[in-house]
Symmetry: C2
Subunit: 209 residues, 2 copies
Protein backbone atom coordinates (compact mmCIF):
# COMPACT_ATOMS: atom_id res chain seq x y z
CA UNK A 1 0.00 0.00 0.00
CA UNK A 2 1.34 3.39 -1.00
CA UNK A 3 0.13 5.20 2.05
CA UNK A 4 2.01 6.88 4.86
CA UNK A 5 1.76 5.42 8.33
CA UNK A 6 -0.09 7.07 11.18
CA UNK A 7 1.72 8.17 14.33
CA UNK A 8 -0.25 6.88 17.31
CA UNK A 9 0.02 7.72 20.96
CA UNK A 10 -1.55 5.32 23.42
CA UNK A 11 -2.00 6.50 27.00
CA UNK A 12 -4.43 5.54 29.70
CA UNK A 13 -5.17 4.76 33.31
CA UNK A 14 -2.76 2.39 35.00
CA UNK A 15 -4.39 -1.01 35.02
CA UNK A 16 -6.26 -0.36 31.78
CA UNK A 17 -4.29 -3.09 30.05
CA UNK A 18 -2.42 -0.90 27.55
CA UNK A 19 0.61 -3.18 27.47
CA UNK A 20 -1.35 -6.32 26.60
CA UNK A 21 -3.42 -4.39 24.08
CA UNK A 22 -0.29 -3.17 22.25
CA UNK A 23 1.27 -6.63 22.33
CA UNK A 24 -1.85 -8.15 20.77
CA UNK A 25 -2.08 -5.46 18.09
CA UNK A 26 1.52 -6.09 17.09
CA UNK A 27 1.14 -9.86 17.02
CA UNK A 28 -2.19 -9.98 15.14
CA UNK A 29 -1.58 -7.38 12.44
CA UNK A 30 1.51 -6.60 10.42
CA UNK A 31 0.98 -2.89 9.87
CA UNK A 32 2.17 -1.74 13.28
CA UNK A 33 5.58 -0.84 14.66
CA UNK A 34 6.18 -0.15 18.34
CA UNK A 35 8.50 2.70 19.17
CA UNK A 36 10.97 2.00 21.97
CA UNK A 37 11.73 4.85 24.33
CA UNK A 38 15.15 5.94 25.50
CA UNK A 39 15.67 6.51 29.23
CA UNK A 40 18.33 7.39 31.72
CA UNK A 41 16.85 5.21 34.45
CA UNK A 42 18.62 1.99 35.34
CA UNK A 43 17.43 -1.29 33.79
CA UNK A 44 15.29 -3.40 36.12
CA UNK A 45 15.85 -7.11 36.42
CA UNK A 46 15.04 -8.85 33.15
CA UNK A 47 14.97 -5.67 31.08
CA UNK A 48 17.06 -5.72 27.92
CA UNK A 49 18.60 -2.68 26.20
CA UNK A 50 16.74 -2.10 22.93
CA UNK A 51 13.74 -4.23 23.96
CA UNK A 52 12.04 -2.52 26.92
CA UNK A 53 14.06 0.68 26.57
CA UNK A 54 17.23 2.07 25.11
CA UNK A 55 19.20 2.62 28.30
CA UNK A 56 21.37 5.72 27.99
CA UNK A 57 23.53 7.82 30.30
CA UNK A 58 22.39 11.31 31.17
CA UNK A 59 25.18 12.68 28.99
CA UNK A 60 24.14 10.59 26.00
CA UNK A 61 20.52 11.56 26.53
CA UNK A 62 21.28 15.27 26.70
CA UNK A 63 23.28 14.96 23.51
CA UNK A 64 20.21 13.40 21.82
CA UNK A 65 18.11 16.34 23.02
CA UNK A 66 20.69 18.82 21.72
CA UNK A 67 20.79 17.10 18.32
CA UNK A 68 16.99 17.05 18.06
CA UNK A 69 17.17 13.27 17.86
CA UNK A 70 14.07 12.87 20.07
CA UNK A 71 10.57 13.80 18.98
CA UNK A 72 9.51 14.25 22.61
CA UNK A 73 11.06 13.89 26.00
CA UNK A 74 10.04 14.37 29.60
CA UNK A 75 11.45 13.95 33.07
CA UNK A 76 9.87 11.69 35.71
CA UNK A 77 11.26 11.16 39.20
CA UNK A 78 14.65 12.51 38.14
CA UNK A 79 15.03 10.43 34.99
CA UNK A 80 14.68 11.33 31.33
CA UNK A 81 12.37 9.44 28.99
CA UNK A 82 12.12 10.19 25.28
CA UNK A 83 11.19 8.91 21.82
CA UNK A 84 14.03 8.55 19.29
CA UNK A 85 13.13 10.22 16.01
CA UNK A 86 14.95 8.02 13.47
CA UNK A 87 12.99 4.79 14.03
CA UNK A 88 9.64 6.58 14.05
CA UNK A 89 10.31 8.41 10.78
CA UNK A 90 11.69 5.33 9.07
CA UNK A 91 8.69 3.17 9.99
CA UNK A 92 6.15 5.87 9.05
CA UNK A 93 7.72 6.26 5.62
CA UNK A 94 7.49 2.47 5.16
CA UNK A 95 3.75 2.83 5.72
CA UNK A 96 3.73 1.37 9.22
CA UNK A 97 1.43 2.80 11.86
CA UNK A 98 3.85 3.61 14.68
CA UNK A 99 2.68 3.21 18.26
CA UNK A 100 4.13 5.24 21.14
CA UNK A 101 3.04 4.23 24.60
CA UNK A 102 3.70 7.46 26.49
CA UNK A 103 2.22 9.75 29.11
CA UNK A 104 0.16 12.84 28.51
CA UNK A 105 3.10 15.31 28.71
CA UNK A 106 4.83 13.57 25.83
CA UNK A 107 1.56 13.01 23.98
CA UNK A 108 0.85 16.73 23.90
CA UNK A 109 4.40 17.57 22.77
CA UNK A 110 4.00 15.13 19.89
CA UNK A 111 0.55 16.39 18.93
CA UNK A 112 1.81 19.98 18.86
CA UNK A 113 4.74 19.09 16.65
CA UNK A 114 2.88 16.55 14.47
CA UNK A 115 -0.78 17.61 14.44
CA UNK A 116 -1.82 14.48 12.49
CA UNK A 117 -0.89 12.27 15.43
CA UNK A 118 -3.74 10.12 16.68
CA UNK A 119 -4.16 10.09 20.46
CA UNK A 120 -5.88 7.12 22.09
CA UNK A 121 -6.78 6.96 25.77
CA UNK A 122 -7.46 3.50 27.23
CA UNK A 123 -9.68 3.06 30.27
CA UNK A 124 -11.18 0.24 32.29
CA UNK A 125 -14.93 -0.14 31.57
CA UNK A 126 -16.17 1.81 34.60
CA UNK A 127 -15.18 3.67 37.72
CA UNK A 128 -15.74 0.65 39.99
CA UNK A 129 -13.26 -1.45 37.99
CA UNK A 130 -10.84 1.47 37.97
CA UNK A 131 -11.20 1.77 41.75
CA UNK A 132 -10.52 -1.94 42.28
CA UNK A 133 -7.39 -1.66 40.18
CA UNK A 134 -6.23 1.45 42.01
CA UNK A 135 -6.99 0.27 45.51
CA UNK A 136 -5.73 -3.23 44.86
CA UNK A 137 -6.46 -6.22 47.03
CA UNK A 138 -6.12 -4.52 50.39
CA UNK A 139 -2.42 -5.31 50.51
CA UNK A 140 -1.24 -1.86 49.36
CA UNK A 141 -0.08 0.84 51.70
CA UNK A 142 -2.16 4.01 51.95
CA UNK A 143 0.69 5.87 50.27
CA UNK A 144 0.70 3.61 47.20
CA UNK A 145 -3.06 3.95 46.85
CA UNK A 146 -2.92 7.72 47.21
CA UNK A 147 -0.16 7.97 44.62
CA UNK A 148 -2.20 5.92 42.19
CA UNK A 149 -5.31 8.01 42.81
CA UNK A 150 -3.38 11.23 42.30
CA UNK A 151 -1.90 9.93 39.10
CA UNK A 152 -5.25 8.68 37.77
CA UNK A 153 -6.80 12.06 38.53
CA UNK A 154 -4.01 13.81 36.64
CA UNK A 155 -4.40 11.40 33.70
CA UNK A 156 -8.17 11.96 33.70
CA UNK A 157 -7.67 15.72 33.41
CA UNK A 158 -6.00 15.33 30.06
CA UNK A 159 -8.56 13.07 28.38
CA UNK A 160 -10.19 15.87 26.33
CA UNK A 161 -6.90 16.34 24.50
CA UNK A 162 -7.18 12.81 23.12
CA UNK A 163 -9.04 11.73 19.99
CA UNK A 164 -10.51 8.44 21.15
CA UNK A 165 -11.59 7.08 24.52
CA UNK A 166 -11.20 3.31 24.36
CA UNK A 167 -12.93 1.06 26.86
CA UNK A 168 -10.91 -2.08 27.49
CA UNK A 169 -13.50 -4.50 28.81
CA UNK A 170 -13.03 -7.58 26.65
CA UNK A 171 -9.43 -7.73 25.40
CA UNK A 172 -10.20 -9.50 22.13
CA UNK A 173 -12.98 -7.07 21.19
CA UNK A 174 -10.83 -4.13 22.26
CA UNK A 175 -7.89 -5.14 20.07
CA UNK A 176 -10.19 -5.46 17.07
CA UNK A 177 -11.86 -2.13 17.86
CA UNK A 178 -8.55 -0.27 18.16
CA UNK A 179 -7.35 -1.81 14.90
CA UNK A 180 -10.56 -0.76 13.12
CA UNK A 181 -10.33 2.77 14.50
CA UNK A 182 -6.76 3.17 13.31
CA UNK A 183 -7.48 1.71 9.89
CA UNK A 184 -10.57 3.90 9.58
CA UNK A 185 -8.42 6.95 10.38
CA UNK A 186 -6.47 6.33 7.18
CA UNK A 187 -9.62 7.46 5.32
CA UNK A 188 -9.81 10.82 7.07
CA UNK A 189 -10.07 13.64 4.56
CA UNK A 190 -6.96 15.36 5.94
CA UNK A 191 -4.96 12.16 5.44
CA UNK A 192 -6.24 11.77 1.86
CA UNK A 193 -5.42 15.20 0.47
CA UNK A 194 -2.96 13.90 -2.09
CA UNK A 195 -5.56 11.64 -3.70
CA UNK A 196 -8.22 14.35 -3.50
CA UNK A 197 -5.91 16.86 -5.20
CA UNK A 198 -5.17 14.33 -7.92
CA UNK A 199 -8.86 13.68 -8.60
CA UNK A 200 -9.50 17.43 -8.68
CA UNK A 201 -6.78 18.16 -11.20
CA UNK A 202 -8.01 15.29 -13.38
CA UNK A 203 -11.48 16.79 -13.29
CA UNK A 204 -10.02 20.07 -14.58
CA UNK A 205 -8.29 18.22 -17.43
CA UNK A 206 -11.57 16.61 -18.44
CA UNK A 207 -13.27 19.98 -18.60
CA UNK A 208 -10.63 21.42 -20.88
CA UNK A 209 -10.72 18.34 -23.14
Amino acid sequence: MNRKGILLVVSGFSGAGKGTLMKELLSRYDNYALSISATTRNPREGEVDGREYFFRTREEFEKMIAEDALIEHACYVGNYYGTPRAYVEEQLSLGKDVILEIEIQGALQIKKRFPDTLLLFVSPPDAATLKNRLVGRGTETMEVIENRLARATEEANGIEQYDYFIINDDLDACVRQVHEIIQGEHSRVFRSLELITEIRSELKTFQKG
Copy 2:
Protein backbone atom coordinates in the same frame (compact mmCIF):
# COMPACT_ATOMS: atom_id res chain seq x y z
CA MET B 1 -26.63 -0.25 24.25
CA ASN B 2 -27.21 2.97 26.15
CA ARG B 3 -25.50 5.19 23.62
CA LYS B 4 -26.90 7.93 21.43
CA GLY B 5 -26.88 7.40 17.67
CA ILE B 6 -24.62 9.29 15.30
CA LEU B 7 -26.05 11.56 12.62
CA LEU B 8 -24.33 10.69 9.35
CA VAL B 9 -24.31 12.50 6.05
CA VAL B 10 -23.23 10.55 3.00
CA SER B 11 -22.42 12.51 -0.14
CA GLY B 12 -20.17 11.77 -3.08
CA PHE B 13 -19.52 11.83 -6.78
CA SER B 14 -22.34 10.57 -8.97
CA GLY B 15 -21.51 7.04 -9.94
CA ALA B 16 -19.64 6.38 -6.71
CA GLY B 17 -22.22 3.78 -5.70
CA LYS B 18 -23.62 5.60 -2.64
CA GLY B 19 -27.08 4.10 -3.08
CA THR B 20 -25.90 0.49 -3.13
CA LEU B 21 -23.52 1.20 -0.26
CA MET B 22 -26.35 2.55 1.94
CA LYS B 23 -28.64 -0.34 0.98
CA GLU B 24 -25.99 -2.86 1.99
CA LEU B 25 -25.22 -1.09 5.28
CA LEU B 26 -28.92 -1.16 6.18
CA SER B 27 -29.38 -4.79 5.24
CA ARG B 28 -26.21 -6.13 6.92
CA TYR B 29 -26.31 -4.27 10.23
CA ASP B 30 -29.21 -3.40 12.48
CA ASN B 31 -27.89 -0.18 13.98
CA TYR B 32 -28.71 2.07 11.03
CA ALA B 33 -31.80 4.02 10.05
CA LEU B 34 -32.13 5.77 6.71
CA SER B 35 -33.74 9.17 6.73
CA ILE B 36 -36.21 9.76 3.90
CA SER B 37 -36.24 13.25 2.41
CA ALA B 38 -39.29 15.32 1.66
CA THR B 39 -39.55 16.97 -1.78
CA THR B 40 -41.89 19.05 -3.88
CA ARG B 41 -40.83 17.38 -7.13
CA ASN B 42 -43.25 14.96 -8.78
CA PRO B 43 -42.84 11.23 -8.20
CA ARG B 44 -41.17 9.38 -11.05
CA GLU B 45 -42.52 6.10 -12.29
CA GLY B 46 -42.22 3.41 -9.63
CA GLU B 47 -41.49 5.85 -6.80
CA VAL B 48 -43.66 5.43 -3.71
CA ASP B 49 -44.53 8.19 -1.22
CA GLY B 50 -42.71 7.44 2.05
CA ARG B 51 -40.22 5.07 0.40
CA GLU B 52 -38.07 7.10 -2.03
CA TYR B 53 -39.36 10.45 -0.79
CA PHE B 54 -42.17 12.06 1.08
CA PHE B 55 -43.88 13.85 -1.80
CA ARG B 56 -45.32 17.15 -0.63
CA THR B 57 -46.91 20.21 -2.23
CA ARG B 58 -44.99 23.46 -2.20
CA GLU B 59 -47.49 24.80 0.34
CA GLU B 60 -47.02 21.81 2.65
CA PHE B 61 -43.24 22.07 2.29
CA GLU B 62 -43.16 25.77 3.14
CA LYS B 63 -45.30 25.07 6.18
CA MET B 64 -42.71 22.49 7.31
CA ILE B 65 -39.96 25.11 6.89
CA ALA B 66 -41.96 27.67 8.87
CA GLU B 67 -42.58 25.18 11.68
CA ASP B 68 -38.88 24.20 11.83
CA ALA B 69 -39.89 20.64 11.01
CA LEU B 70 -36.89 20.18 8.69
CA ILE B 71 -33.29 20.00 9.90
CA GLU B 72 -32.06 21.15 6.47
CA HIS B 73 -33.55 22.04 3.15
CA ALA B 74 -32.33 23.22 -0.21
CA CYS B 75 -33.69 24.06 -3.63
CA TYR B 76 -32.55 22.27 -6.82
CA VAL B 77 -33.93 23.01 -10.28
CA GLY B 78 -36.94 24.73 -8.81
CA ASN B 79 -37.88 22.02 -6.32
CA TYR B 80 -37.47 21.83 -2.57
CA TYR B 81 -35.72 18.92 -0.86
CA GLY B 82 -35.42 18.60 2.90
CA THR B 83 -34.90 16.30 5.88
CA PRO B 84 -37.83 15.90 8.30
CA ARG B 85 -36.70 16.41 11.87
CA ALA B 86 -39.02 14.08 13.79
CA TYR B 87 -37.81 10.77 12.34
CA VAL B 88 -34.14 11.73 12.71
CA GLU B 89 -34.48 12.74 16.37
CA GLU B 90 -36.56 9.69 17.25
CA GLN B 91 -34.09 7.24 15.70
CA LEU B 92 -31.05 8.98 17.25
CA SER B 93 -32.59 8.79 20.71
CA LEU B 94 -33.23 5.06 20.13
CA GLY B 95 -29.47 4.73 19.57
CA LYS B 96 -29.67 4.26 15.81
CA ASP B 97 -27.03 5.80 13.57
CA VAL B 98 -29.12 7.84 11.15
CA ILE B 99 -27.97 8.15 7.54
CA LEU B 100 -28.86 11.13 5.36
CA GLU B 101 -27.91 10.85 1.72
CA ILE B 102 -27.78 14.53 0.78
CA GLU B 103 -25.74 17.05 -1.20
CA ILE B 104 -23.07 19.34 0.15
CA GLN B 105 -25.37 22.35 0.70
CA GLY B 106 -27.56 20.35 3.03
CA ALA B 107 -24.55 18.60 4.58
CA LEU B 108 -23.03 21.91 5.64
CA GLN B 109 -26.33 23.20 7.03
CA ILE B 110 -26.58 20.07 9.16
CA LYS B 111 -22.96 20.24 10.33
CA LYS B 112 -23.40 23.88 11.38
CA ARG B 113 -26.53 23.08 13.36
CA PHE B 114 -25.34 19.72 14.74
CA PRO B 115 -21.54 19.90 14.93
CA ASP B 116 -21.27 16.22 15.96
CA THR B 117 -22.58 15.12 12.56
CA LEU B 118 -20.24 12.81 10.71
CA LEU B 119 -19.73 13.68 7.04
CA LEU B 120 -18.65 10.94 4.63
CA PHE B 121 -17.70 11.56 1.01
CA VAL B 122 -17.75 8.56 -1.32
CA SER B 123 -15.59 8.45 -4.44
CA PRO B 124 -14.68 6.01 -7.18
CA PRO B 125 -11.13 4.65 -6.69
CA ASP B 126 -9.41 7.00 -9.15
CA ALA B 127 -9.88 9.79 -11.64
CA ALA B 128 -9.95 7.44 -14.65
CA THR B 129 -12.89 5.49 -13.19
CA LEU B 130 -14.59 8.75 -12.32
CA LYS B 131 -14.09 9.97 -15.90
CA ASN B 132 -15.55 6.78 -17.37
CA ARG B 133 -18.59 7.16 -15.18
CA LEU B 134 -18.98 10.84 -16.06
CA VAL B 135 -18.39 10.49 -19.78
CA GLY B 136 -20.41 7.29 -20.02
CA ARG B 137 -20.32 4.88 -22.92
CA GLY B 138 -20.19 7.43 -25.71
CA THR B 139 -23.96 7.52 -25.87
CA GLU B 140 -24.37 10.72 -23.86
CA THR B 141 -24.87 14.15 -25.36
CA MET B 142 -22.15 16.75 -24.85
CA GLU B 143 -24.57 18.68 -22.66
CA VAL B 144 -25.14 15.76 -20.29
CA ILE B 145 -21.40 15.15 -19.96
CA GLU B 146 -20.70 18.82 -19.31
CA ASN B 147 -23.40 18.95 -16.67
CA ARG B 148 -21.93 15.95 -14.92
CA LEU B 149 -18.42 17.39 -15.07
CA ALA B 150 -19.59 20.72 -13.67
CA ARG B 151 -21.42 18.94 -10.87
CA ALA B 152 -18.48 16.68 -10.04
CA THR B 153 -16.19 19.73 -9.92
CA GLU B 154 -18.58 21.47 -7.57
CA GLU B 155 -18.80 18.35 -5.39
CA ALA B 156 -15.00 18.05 -5.35
CA ASN B 157 -14.66 21.61 -4.06
CA GLY B 158 -16.50 20.71 -0.89
CA ILE B 159 -14.54 17.60 0.07
CA GLU B 160 -12.39 19.33 2.72
CA GLN B 161 -15.54 20.01 4.71
CA TYR B 162 -16.10 16.28 5.11
CA ASP B 163 -14.62 14.03 7.78
CA TYR B 164 -13.86 10.91 5.74
CA PHE B 165 -13.01 10.29 2.10
CA ILE B 166 -14.23 6.79 1.27
CA ILE B 167 -12.96 4.95 -1.78
CA ASN B 168 -15.61 2.61 -3.16
CA ASP B 169 -13.58 0.13 -5.16
CA ASP B 170 -14.77 -3.24 -3.89
CA LEU B 171 -18.36 -2.91 -2.61
CA ASP B 172 -18.10 -5.60 0.05
CA ALA B 173 -14.88 -4.18 1.53
CA CYS B 174 -16.28 -0.66 1.34
CA VAL B 175 -19.45 -1.54 3.27
CA ARG B 176 -17.37 -3.13 6.00
CA GLN B 177 -14.98 -0.17 6.07
CA VAL B 178 -17.79 2.38 6.38
CA HIS B 179 -19.40 0.34 9.16
CA GLU B 180 -16.10 0.14 11.04
CA ILE B 181 -15.49 3.87 10.66
CA ILE B 182 -18.92 4.71 12.02
CA GLN B 183 -18.64 2.29 14.92
CA GLY B 184 -15.16 3.60 15.70
CA GLU B 185 -16.55 7.13 15.80
CA HIS B 186 -18.69 6.13 18.78
CA SER B 187 -15.43 6.01 20.77
CA ARG B 188 -14.43 9.60 19.96
CA VAL B 189 -13.65 11.52 23.13
CA PHE B 190 -16.26 14.20 22.33
CA ARG B 191 -18.92 11.49 22.03
CA SER B 192 -17.87 9.89 25.34
CA LEU B 193 -17.95 12.94 27.61
CA GLU B 194 -20.74 11.58 29.79
CA LEU B 195 -18.76 8.46 30.67
CA ILE B 196 -15.55 10.46 31.14
CA THR B 197 -17.31 12.88 33.52
CA GLU B 198 -18.68 9.94 35.47
CA ILE B 199 -15.25 8.35 35.86
CA ARG B 200 -13.79 11.70 36.92
CA SER B 201 -16.37 12.31 39.62
CA GLU B 202 -15.88 8.77 40.90
CA LEU B 203 -12.16 9.45 41.13
CA LYS B 204 -12.92 12.49 43.30
CA THR B 205 -15.11 10.37 45.58
CA PHE B 206 -12.26 7.86 46.05
CA GLN B 207 -9.88 10.62 47.08
CA LYS B 208 -12.25 11.92 49.71
CA GLY B 209 -12.91 8.41 51.04
